[in-house]
Amino acid sequence: MSLGGYNGKILRVNLSDGSFEVDPLPKSWVKDYIGGDGFGVKLLFEEVPGGTDPLSADNKLIIGTGPITGTMWPMSGRTVFISKAPLTGIWGESHVGGFLGPELKYAGYDMLVVEGKAEHPVYIRIEDTHLELCEASHLWGSTTDQTTINIKKAHHDPDIQVAAIGPAGERLVRFASVIVNHARAAGRTGMGSVLGSKNVKAIAIRGHGGVDVYDHEGFFELAKKAHRRVRENPQAREMGKWGTWILTAVKQEIGELPTYNHRTGVFPGFEKLTGDYIRPRFTISDRACFGCSLGCKKVNYVKTGPFAGTLEEGPEYEGLMAFGSSLGIDDYATTLKANQICNRYGMDIISAGATIGFAIEAFENGVITEKDTGGLKLEWGNREQAIHLLEMIAARQEFGNLLAEGSKRAAESIGKGAGKYAMHVKGLEVSGQDGRTHRSIGLGHATAARGADHLRSLVVVDQLGYEDVAAKRWGADKLPEIIDPYTEKYKATAVVESENAYCIRDTLIVCWYSVSWPPIFWMEDFAEMLPFATGVKHFGSVKNLTEIAERVVTMKRLFNKREGITRRDDNLPDRFTKEPMPEGPGKGQTVDLDPMLDDYYRLRGWDLKTGLPTEETIKRLSLEWTKAHS
């Protein structure tokens, strides 16, 4: 049987000796892992042993695609960066939109594995079968946009897709990102510093080939139908107009707009961070990622004020939160400027904002003093100061050097109980949700493989009251509790099933939007499409896909087990479990994590005491082989 969708090739570059190697993609991987995250966890588990220093030559960085990357399936242009994470020391992955992954497929490869460490700065150039390491000393120190333009010019080809790190990645800022297409960030967990530690400034890809699916006519028709479903979906159309800014007002209304470092969920100045306010004043164009008919990206221009002249895409809702409400800043232009700096210098806007928020709150409580900050009086709502701190982090300059380590490490080195103000799980800063007003995300933040993650299991259906969808997915008998944001009951069911569907999403790879929200495509749609794309009949059943998802989720857990993660680490900052939400519709709420964790482990087949996969589960998912790599 010939496989559709895949190239059947893994490209490896060994930076230490400058060699390239093309390995065949093991056929056995396809049925068990599909692609994307699945291939990534398999390879990383086997090849990066427990205890490896993420910033050492022994760590590896994987750029992954899936079987439908580069085809016309809606929103299938996404790419994943996978590595052991410098920010957390555990499983790390970061997905990004843009055009990189499809180009890698057109060049003829399914994955790129970056190994070893170069002696001096290089960039990796891939043009079909032409593979080379190019000198990049002249680019070291330059921003991601300069680097991108420079590489395109050097090779006289505007269609090269570049993934670049900025000065933050070079300086090993723990939450450094990789940037593609100027403003799309593989932001979380510090993938940029992995490349920085390997002396890789950029990866430049150009491919002239194509992707052949198994049944072209059938797939093409199905893809067109799928695009129509996106185009006709009213929520997707709204999303196309407002992007993720649509969330600000919703979050404020339900009292879940993280404000003052997650102290509260209500922000008086929220209006200036809403789509209604921003779009007519700042937006100059709408853009999309590869193959996307929704188009959530907005390019914006600031005409007046201290940040006049800023032309930049974004930020997403998370950026509005991280540099807006969370720092008490009611000014869109500041968030755009922060986004620009994060993109150019290569940093994750969520972790950057949260680490600054941590510092401000610690300062307010006398745990950080002017002696630490070099005379800066940290305060909420100070726009210029927030931007200044961000620049100091990118440069690892003075106080910025401490913050560049992320909130967990910074709190540890300050001591004096500073950890109380560091909002992270397993070292990853908490994203723009709050378990107190949305219980299922409390569980999601606590259990996700990479730390406080909003992308692997965030249930939207419960919070936004999609009763019919909830009944269809989880059974009408679980209503109304399962969509009640203030109760722990049934939340593990919703989280596990969503995590499974999103896991398949991340193996394909498709975008969060259209799967996670609005709820357009789900498991049954993937089960219908995948056999056309790949020819693998096994993918044609939701049951089989669910088993693959369980396998991949459990493997990430086994990866983290090697690093010492157990139930004890599946925790939330005390703020969410002990400090009641002070105001708003969720006033008085806290998260009771333990009953949800019990349910979650039970559904996953993980031990209730340790939170680790049981022997039986390991056997059921055919993961005995992992024991040889413990």
Partner: protein, 169 residues
Amino acid sequence: MLILPSQLVVDYTKCTGCRICELACTAKKEGRFQPSLARLKIVRYDDLGIDLPNVCGPCETAPCVDICPVYAIRRDPISKMTFLDNDRCILCKSCVGACVNGVILLDTKRMRIIKCDHCGGDPECAKACPTGAISYSHVSVAPSLDRHDKISSYLREIERTAQESGGAE
């Protein structure tokens, strides 16, 4: 004055740069997904947030027709669409250089010229475009002059912002 019946009409302000049109084009014409062989091309300026669809036509005087030494590219007398007669083509590549929209290609693998034929009057790209940035409709010369104006003002804007930001693609 030549009256052009239906043509591919572009409104670049609507284009999001998703390249679904390139995918749909090659899905139909090549039986696979291969944007490098698409009969149209989206030029994306990531740093300016601008995307420009380049399609075949509308050309009142078509340089490809004029330049072809063996009359392999001609204009259909009824649809006015310019088309390539592969049997006559000697692969001299003159048309590739002459096309003002840069959408005539030489496929070096299979050694053939690739040129848009408006899908015989039912263009796949226009059907696939989710934003209406490409449509297939009747144009007179006026809109294409209009298009020229728009693009010039656009280029001026690119230059201006490039100078402001101190470097552009």
